[in-house]
């Protein structure tokens, strides 16, 4: 995955993401694509969650999946989650849960709960950084005021780091990404080339359409504008030549 929170020169905040999923879950040799990614694409839906006929939050999700990976609480904050791989991973959290230790929260349920119940950037940041989880994760949070954007790097128990303002893929920002999977450098290069004056949903879509930021695992691209309360999503494909991840 690649997530970006960016601000234009007028202080207008935008949040965009590519959701990449399906690595090593079957490779279709004939079509040169990941089986799981292909099966997920038709399931992508945009959902407007309403209470009393009013929008509470909007999300891009998968039909049948009740947690959230991408969403906007209009006029308050935007949130995306990127996968964080660790030996102390979610399977340990699940084992603990089965054995009766249930003080952690399922990651996607926390994300949905925050989108549904938090009413400000600060409240969302506090919940995402302090709630004990079953699995490690990166939470990318954008606010509605200038300077409000951060990447929260989570282990299952702790908030390891809160990095104000930037772009993240699936690696800790203080470490070099795996040399075979460096989407951060090209994405950063394109963001720098775009310049702050030209930041918009249109230019963020351009960044997320540049290979290898766009790759064979990319299922959808979502663009969010917090002050307009707007979320738009597009199902993606990456024709050859294209990196498998």
């Amino acid at each position: 995955c690649t997530s970006v929170v960016a601000e234009d020169s007028n202080g207008h905040l935008f949040h965009a993401r590519n959701l990449d999923f399906g690595l090593f879950m079957g490779w279709d040799v004939r079509n040169k694509s990941w089986l799981m990614t292909e099966k997920l694409r038709p399931l992508v839906v945009n959902v407007d969650f309403q209470r009393n006929n009013k929008t509470v939050f909007k999300s891009t999700s998968f039909a049948g999946y009740v947690g959230m990976l991408t969403g906007i609480h209009p006029h308050a904050f935007t949130l995306t989650m990127n996968e964080r791989f660790s030996l102390d991973g979610g399977y340990i959290g699940i084992m603990e849960w089965i054995l009766g230790k249930r003080d952690g929260m399922w990651m996607s349920f926390l994300t949905r709960s925050v989108l549904e119940n938090a009413t400000s950037y600060e409240e969302a940041k506090q919940k995402l950084s302090q709630t004990k989880l079953l699995a490690p994760a990166y939470f990318i949070l954008g606010g509605n005021q200038t300077g409000q954007g951060c990447v929260i790097t989570r282990s299952r128990v702790l908030s390891l780091d809160i990095w104000e303002w930037s772009l993240t893929t699936n690696y800790d920002h203080w470490k070099e990404p795996l040399f075979l999977d460096d989407r951060r450098t090209p994405a950063m290069k394109c963001m720098n080339q775009t310049t702050r004056a030209n930041i918009s949903p249109k230019t963020l879509y351009d960044v997320l359409s540049t290979k290898p930021v766009l790759n064979k695992l990319t299922t959808y691209t979502t663009l969010m504008d917090v002050s307009e309360g707007r979320l738009e999503s597009y199902i993606r494909d990456c024709p050859d030549p294209c990196m498998p991840w």
């Binding site: 090593f24 079957g26 089986l35 799981m36 694409r41 038709p42 399931l43 992508v44 839906v45 945009n46 959902v47 407007d48 969650f49 309403q50 209470r51 998968f62 039909a63 049948g64 999946y65 009740v66 947690g67 990976l69 996968e83 964080r84 791989f85 991973g89 979610g90 399977y91 959290g93 699940i94 849960w97 929260m105 399922w106 996607s108 949905r112 079953l134 699995a135 490690p136 994760a137 075979l180 090209p186 290069k189 080339q193 879509y205 351009d206 359409s209 540049t210 290979k211 290898p212 766009l214 959808y220 691209t221 999503s233 597009y234 199902i235 993606r236 494909d237 024709p239 030549p241 990196m243």
Partner: protein, 122 residues
């Protein structure tokens, strides 16, 4: 040219929006989920619309069979995983139950689909 050798890094793209061309496979459909409804009923419309096009079941099976091709893992998913459902927090457990009922997909497979993130972070 660098875009023809791995990792196929391109010059930064421009003019891609509005989405079109070979990297765009379609717009995403909007649905409304009414949070005033009982949790088991909230996803009925979405699942009614999607169940004929795409089987969530095949996704669960692929997921399980990718790791244990014999199908034994899927047996466990169908037989034992639903026991976990009642331990999940409300309203998510009820929503998952509703999705299974609306789609006809076994409960264990819907549950596996909903916890795949936790399973695959190793």
């Amino acid at each position: 040219r660098p875009q023809f050798v791995p990792p196929y890094t391109e010059e930064c793209r421009s003019g891609m929006y509005p989405p079109k061309g070979p990297t765009f496979k379609g717009a995403v459909t909007w649905y409304t989920v009414n949070l005033d409804l009982p949790p088991a009923k909230r996803w009925t419309d979405v699942m009614s619309d999607k169940k004929d096009d795409v089987s969530v079941s095949s996704r669960g099976k692929n997921l399980a069979n990718a790791f244990v091709p014999s199908g034994k893992l899927l047996d466990i998913v169908d037989r034992d995983l639903p026991l976990l459902l009642d331990t999940l927090p409300f309203p998510f457990n009820e929503e998952i139950r509703g999705i299974s009922a609306a789609s006809g997909v076994p409960l264990g497979e819907v549950l596996l689909f909903n916890i795949f993130y936790e399973v695959f972070t190793a």
